[in-house]
């Protein structure tokens, strides 16, 4: 009988441990919060609207790490994952935290695209922009033995037979990987955009272009850096307005250079809850402006293949309005919105 009790106790311990583990997953407390000024005070709440290990997660964790390492922020900044519905779950929960000065989250073009796609009513006007931090650019890659050697080759083939080039990407139809290719195709003068075949894959889409199952993979530059450097994938063009990176990556021509007058920026920026108090907004605008100048941040950008694309809150707000219009136009062209 006593053994049973001991065992029950042991089980309860395991149970408690699990609770601890999950709480751990909710955030790692770092720093001890001493010498904190009036704001920020207490524990901040950094949120990645996607799962652990994803692009958003990487951005916000890197930001928190740099802020801590450079001692710009001395209060704890645990990172929390609140994934679901392409970030919309977090967007919805932010609406219940109106006026909060604690929450900092990261977003990128899906913030605008999910609303346009009609899967949520919330968009970029329902958060408080703080700063645009980095940019990744789209890159269009083909297998090393592909007959296509430039963006023009691809566009010519599409003009001859719109079904001849199968485009693959990771996001679902109407989302980023799809849109970024269509914006180039539109600028190249292709009219029947809605007939271009876009095939949506999961994380392993790179394997599909390597294996020759799709003709072209539309993705983010940082996603396929390794495969471009090794020569397994041939990069036909990237969508910045300038050359990005060094070495093999620096040799990838922009689409503009190839006569396609369009750019696409996969920006990532930080946002607060709706109606974030002014003192908090001011604090983060100043802090983030300092952060992007630190050597720690520059080093992180380099290893991750990010382009520094810092933009202060007011300009960032205007920028968001512009891209919203661009995305709307292209989605209208392919008939995804009326």
């Amino acid at each position: 009988m006593r053994k049973e009790k001991v065992f029950a106790l042991l089980l309860s311990l395991i149970f408690a441990l699990t609770l601890g583990l999950t709480a751990e997953g909710q955030g790692d407390a770092s720093g001890n919060g001493k010498a904190a000024p009036a704001y920020p005070k207490g524990v901040l709440d950094f949120v990645a609207p996607g799962g652990a290990g994803g692009g958003w997660d990487l951005t916000i964790r890197t930001t928190a790490k740099v802020l801590k390492d450079s001692k710009l922020v001395t209060v704890p900044m645990p990172v929390r994952n609140n994934p679901g519905a392409g970030g919309s779950v977090n967007l919805a929960s932010l609406q219940e935290k109106k006026g909060s000065d604690k929450i900092i989250c990261v977003y990128s073009p899906p913030l605008i695209l999910t609303k346009l796609a009609g899967t949520t009513d919330l968009g970029y006007t329902d958060v408080t922009p703080l700063a645009r931090l980095i940019a990744d650019y789209a890159v269009f890659v083909v297998a090393a033995d592909s007959p296509y050697n430039s963006m023009a080759d691809v566009m010519d083939a599409l003009k001859k037979d719109i079904k001849s080039v199968k485009i693959g990407g990771i996001s679902s139809a109407g989302s980023m990987d799809h849109i970024q290719f269509l914006m180039m195709a539109k600028a190249a003068g292709i009219k029947n955009l809605n007939q271009i075949d876009y095939v949506s894959f999961d994380d392993s889409a790179a394997a599909q272009v390597l294996g020759g199952h799709i003709d072209l993979f539309s993705t983010g530059l940082s996603e396929v850096l390794g495969l471009i450097e090794s020569g397994d994938l041939k990069a036909l063009g990237q969508t910045a307005d300038h050359r990005v990176g060094e070495g093999v990556v620096g040799e990838i021509p922009t689409c503009v250079e190839q006569g396609i007058d369009a750019t696409f920026v996969n920006w990532r920026g930080l946002f607060g809850a709706p109606e974030m108090p002014d003192y908090a907004v001011t604090y983060w605008r100043e802090t983030l402006a300092k952060m992007v100048e630190t050597p720690e941040w520059k080093a992180a950008c380099k290893t991750n293949g990010w382009d520094d694309a810092y933009m202060d809150a007011p300009e960032f707000g205007t920028f968001l309005g512009q891209v919203d219009k661009e995305y709307t136009d292209i989605l209208k062209d392919i008939g995804l919105i009326k």
Binding site: K3, E4, F7, A8, L11, S12, I14, F15, T18, L19, L21, T22, E24, G25, D28, G51, A52, G53, G54, D57, L58, R61, V79, N81, P83, G84, A85, G86, S88, V89, A117, T119, T120, K163, K166, S172, A173, G174, D197, V199, S200, F201, D203, S204, A206, A207, Q208, L210, G211, G212, H213, I214, L225, G226, L227, E229, S230, D232, T303, L336
Partner: protein
């Protein structure tokens, strides 16, 4: 020779006291995490992510690797003892592991599970050293059509294996496929069957369904006898080891399942669940007495255990050789690599050979440590059977909810857990098997999407599904998997009627 030199250097890295400590710690944590319902390797690695910040890349990778295969070792503990798998890959361990426990053979079951896991893991690590690159290249031949056929084969084999009630097996499969259609459809971007619930847009996580059907289902089933006092509490425990006879039965299934698991694991997107279920089906078909499967056949436990551990090693191949995540767990590990400033991809082997070979060497060491650790641990764990249900089941219930919450930190999952728990209970009352449904939930979305990807790529021609030797082999296997049990049933009936009464 180069490989051996690198491997030797890798061992020097892995055998440093710190790294030995990390792999042991990772393996131990993984075993514990794996045992808990809902907390599988992906959650385990994700939870560790913040901690790995402060480690070097080698130590971080070794620890995460330890958690990964530790969870594979631990995942089946709960399957065997209380019929509640902690992860998809541990579902197959319930088929014969739990019946063994009910027969009072839990000790043998736990022992063979550790031994099979060990052999599967070591075998796969050898394969990785020898043939990682060719395997990765071969896996690239799998396009959407091949994946569709592979999923179709796994589903039909599992459904038709449900002895005696094949129709119910297929019914369960269809239920699972229906569940898997919920969420945003990748090919059209349209939201399906979410009834306006935001959280459902990402689909229903198969782990929720597994926890609900097994853990909650088990709790609901015990409602009937929880207060009567008449419980099957085991009081006496033997040594955690197997007999010579049991070893003789298991050795071939273990050796056959390891390469199968390794290869299926190396296919991006297939994973440990597929590997373990395929090896189980495989052994059942090869067996001379398939009627013993599901009734506590030790080889029915040994095979999937070997396969899922081999798969966890195989899943590292696309990540390490190509920088492509091969499973949910490796996707998180890749994110961690980036956080640590490493760029996953083909160049990693050349740029950071010590890190990679250190990881591979630590897999050998980790598997040995886990096997040594798991046998005495099993001796302790088996005593869970002495806990009366009225104490045990509330704890299982609590753990289930914690596990479900850890998946995506969503309250919505609690409701789903209860709904599917009740559904699982009703299914068991109606004698509808749950495994085909679980597998369908896991592969359903991928299978449907693969079909439509292939269809789009071929401009609407079905020819693509017979367009490659891999497809044709998989079709043949699918047909055999459905026809063989039917055919065998007819033959057996004839034998019976022709034999003198």
């Amino acid at each position: 020779m180069d490989t051996l030199q690198f491997l030797f250097d890798g061992f020097l890295v892995a055998l440093t006291p710190m790294n030995l400590m990390w792999v042991t710690l990772g393996g131990f944590l993984g075993t514990i995490i794996g045992m808990l319902p809902g907390l599988g390797p992906a959650t385990g690695v994700a939870v560790l992510l913040p901690l790995t910040f402060s480690m070097g890349p080698t130590a971080a990778l070794i620890t995460m690797g330890g958690v990964y295969y530790g969870a594979m070792f631990g995942g089946s503990r709960a399957s065997i003892l209380i019929n509640t798998p902690g992860d998809g890959a541990a579902v197959a361990a319930t088929f014969d592991g739990y019946p063994m426990t009910l027969q009072g053979r839990a000790e043998s079951a736990l022992a063979i599970s550790a031994i099979a896991s060990f052999i599967g893991g070591i075998f796969a690590t050898f394969c990785m050293v020898a043939i990682a690159i060719p395997v990765a290249r071969f896996a690239l031949k799998f396009g959407p059509a091949e994946y569709f056929m592979l999923f179709l084969f796994a589903l039909s084999a599992t459904a038709s294996m449900t002895e005696g009630n094949r129709l119910r097996g297929f019914l369960a499969t269809i239920l699972g496929l229906m569940i898997s259609t919920i969420g945003i459809d990748g090919q059209s971007g349209v939201v399906r069957f979410t009834f306006g619930v935001l959280e459902l847009q990402s689909g229903i996580d198969f782990l929720i369904v597994i926890i609900a059907v097994y853990a909650l289902g088990e709790v609901f089933k015990s409602f009937n006898n929880i207060h009567t006092g008449k419980t099957n509490v085991q009081k006496k425990f033997g040594k955690i080891w197997i007999t010579r006879e049991e070893w003789r039965k298991s050795v071939w299934p273990i050796l056959r399942s390891a390469p199968l698991g390794f290869f299926v694991g190396a296919l991006p997107g297939a994973g440990g669940t597929m590997a373990s279920l395929m090896s189980y089906n495989n052994e059942k078909q090869l067996s001379k007495h398939p009627e013993e499967f599901g009734e506590g056949a030790i080889e029915g436990l040994a095979a999937p255990e070997s396969a899922n551990n081999a798969a966890s090693v195989g899943a590292m191949i696309p990540m390490l050789t190509l920088g492509i995540p091969g499973s949910g767990t490796t996707a998180v590990m890749m994110g961690a690599l980036l956080l640590l400033g490493l760029q996953p991809g083909p160049m990693l082997f050349q740029q950071q050979p010590l890190i990679i070979w250190g990881l591979i060497a630590s897999m050998f060491i980790g598997n040995i440590i886990l096997a040594v650790m798991n046998i005495p641990l099993a001796g302790l764990l088996v005593r869970v059977l002495s806990v009366p249900p009225k104490i045990l089941y509330p704890i299982v219930l609590g753990l289930s909810f914690v596990g479900a919450y850890a998946i995506s930190y969503s309250i919505m999952d609690f409701y789903l857990l209860i709904i599917f728990g009740l559904a699982g209970f009703l299914m068991s009352k109606a004698k509808i098997p749950s495994t085909p449904m679980i597998l369908a939930v896991i592969v359903g979305n991928n299978m449907e999407q693969s079909f439509r990807r292939a269809y789009k790529i071929s401009d609407g021609s079905l020819g693509i599904f017979v367009g490659s030797p891999i497809c044709i082999i998989l079709i043949a296997l699918t047909v055999i998997s459905i026809a063989y049990p039917v055919f065998k049933g007819i033959v057996d009936k004839k034998k019976k009627s022709s034999s003198p009464a």
